[in-house]
Amino acid sequence: MADYTTSEMMTVAAARMLGNGTVCFVGIGLPSTAANLARLTHAPESVLIYESGPIGTKPNVLPLSIGDGELATTADTVVSTPEIFRYWLQGGRIDVGFLGGAQIDRYANLNTTVIGPYDKPKVRLPGAGGAPEIAAMAGEVLIIMNQNTRAFVDKLDFVTTAGHLDGGDARKRAGLPGKGPTAVITDLCIMRPDAETRELVVTDLHPGVTADQVREKTGWDVRFANDVVETMVPTPNELTVLRALLKRTAEAHGSAS
């Protein structure tokens, strides 16, 4: 039955979260794939912004880096990186921040800095990049990540990027303007913050995925909504567009000199 991969399901499910006309600040990698799939299917008027400077970019192939030339060539305009962070992100012009992460906790806080102590790290991760301010300033935040117990952990060694902090109205008390993470899309399911506690709750299971599978891949005692729904399978059109996009991308980047 399932003529699609779990990765395709994740990307399609994430893409569907982006409304048409949305102004989206896009992280590189999985978020970029999902945002462009949205643009190429149900959300042609969505406005994609990358931190390197392109505004309203419509890349024909996915960028490998955050500043690929394709992003500039197909943009409505390209501004400087300071301007992106100052006028567009901090200026409150972004509806949705679309992020990935190395580690996440039950309140959708993200760690991309270190595993182990900061001053004596076991693993030094890349660091913050644009994430802390994207997650702070965007109207809402979508997070896309592969689900496993190394990534979905009970306690972060380091909070790089605030999600809902320790829950409740902690985010508001910390002075964070945006609503914060409203969904985490994985290869298994979709989680959303509880209205009160802001703890992530599984609301959608991808077709064929069981609650136990999600529990096994989550580093905390994960909660499920009372009315968990099954994610709609990818439509033929979604799969066709996604696969063509990835094929074009592989061809373009493979042949780069």
């Binding site: 880096s65 990186t81 800095t113 900061y118 030094r124 913050a128 605030a162 964070l176 000199s257």
Partner: protein, 285 residues
Amino acid sequence: MANICTLTEAIGEFLHDGDTVAMEGFTHLIPHAAAHEMIRQKRRDLTLVRMTPDLIYDQLIGMGCAKRLVFSWGGNPGVGSLHRFRDAVEKGWPHPLEIEEHSHAALANAYVAGASGLPFAVLRGYAGSDLPKHNPRIKFINCPFTGEQLAAVPSLRPDVAVIHAQKADRKGNVLIWGIVGVQKEAVLASKRAIVTVEEVVDSLDADPNACVLPHWVISAVAVVPKGAHPSYAHGYYDRDNRFYTAWDAISRERDSFTAWMERHVLATMDWEAYRKLLSETGGTA
């Protein structure tokens, strides 16, 4: 008028041991040729500033040029880790590396403040993040009108900015276009500026509002075709994504890294010789 000279002369004259150096270029126009020349000239004790350390600082760090790193995202874009950066931070090889870590927004603002002659930048940033706990150069201040709390970081005022650009005219006026990143701010925040360019032309033929750096803010311009490789120069050549992937293997172990750098950088006289060797050895190996 900017001094139009060789890259060897530019680095020799304007970039010294112990300097704070900002080499910018946001995946586009990364000044790799200049970094090689710094390695050849064995610069030491540098404070390296860059939003995304990338391969360019991985090489400088692994070759022992850096004492300190100011950065906001240290990965190999689209590939994974920067192994030399990690080895320096995790294991202190080739020697310990002090780090000052920020977010992109903070460093971008710190460059703006530096270019603007201000001692600090104000931003809505770092709320809820653990970064301020580990970086004493992040503080919080209150708006004198509304009382709101905002983050503050010291401005960046490097000794030298090093950038790569598409072209310069014969006076040394420089044109950058496409993804312009934070280069104008890095140059204007710095005491000196070294620019490598793809070519020198009679006239820039630039749009009136294009990103042009006038010759009198630049210390030296050196013509270095393909000087951004494996990064790219819009309108000249594409990003060499295969090199970024290959770098993962080259840089993973200390021995393979050192051997590669010795053969490709230390044993070549300049960027042209390096590029020739690279083409003979299949682009990466």
